[in-house]
Amino acid sequence: MNPVREWQMISTDPEATARFYGEAFGWTIDRANPLGYRRVSTGGGTPGGIWPAPPTAHSFVQLFVAVDDVEGAITRAVEHGAAVLVPRSVLPDGDVMAVLKDPLGVPFAVYTSA
């Protein structure tokens, strides 16, 4: 079984999103990483991140499913009707990730943590 270990909000205004959750729930944001990615700590709860969306897109939340092998997970997901949006990518911090769309069109990610 592969657990959901992280989530990501895709936001057309990431700064406003970060401010809202910080002020309303005390979540903390850390951008000190090579992508300037807003890593979100929820105080012992499931961590996540905020990634900017193009102005013409809409905002939504993605689940990040932790897997042992990203390529294998992509193959299995595609066999079950998923489509690949962003192929396997090695992020500067060493995490390996791919973004897919489930059969109903909902984007999600599979990843292995460095």
Partner: protein, 133 residues
């Protein structure tokens, strides 16, 4: 998918078809941009800034959504050109400092390059471009 230069050249050609004496200077005036900037962008000598792209797109009748999409595409192409340079290090904060572009805009550009399969994050330290920037 049209980029900004292609859009400008297409409109310039159309106008010249109607009036063979229509100059680049007149076109710059009609677009509300400086002649030297327009000339530089059309010849490929200088990159189109986001402000330039948005102004040109609006003056050429693109709606807000189309104009934003054009700005996004230009930014992705700009990031690809940065990645193609010798000694590139995969750090968008560094790219932001050097280019003056916001990190968030670069993140959007990065996502576009990845989803269009124009860029591959091969390893933690190597980003590989597919095709021309």
């Amino acid at each position: 998918m049209t980029d900004c230069v292609a859009l400008v050249v297409e409109h310039l050609t159309l106008r010249r078809r109607r009036n063979a004496r229509y100059s680049l200077r007149a076109f710059a005036r009609d677009l509300g941009v400086s002649h030297s900037t327009l000339s530089g962008v059309v010849s490929g000598r200088r990159p189109a800034s986001a402000r330039f792209v948005r102004r040109v797109a609006t003056r050429l009748g693109l709606d807000e959504r189309e104009a934003s999409a054009l700005v996004d595409r230009e930014l992705a192409t700009k990031l690809a050109a940065v990645v193609a340079r010798d000694g590139f290090l995969p750090d968008l904060r560094e790219v932001a400092v050097r280019s003056g572009l916001p990190v968030d805009a670069l993140c959007v550009a990065l996502h576009r390059l990845l989803s269009e399969r124009r860029l591959e994050l091969t390893s933690a330290h190597v980003w590989t471009l597919r095709g021309d920037p």
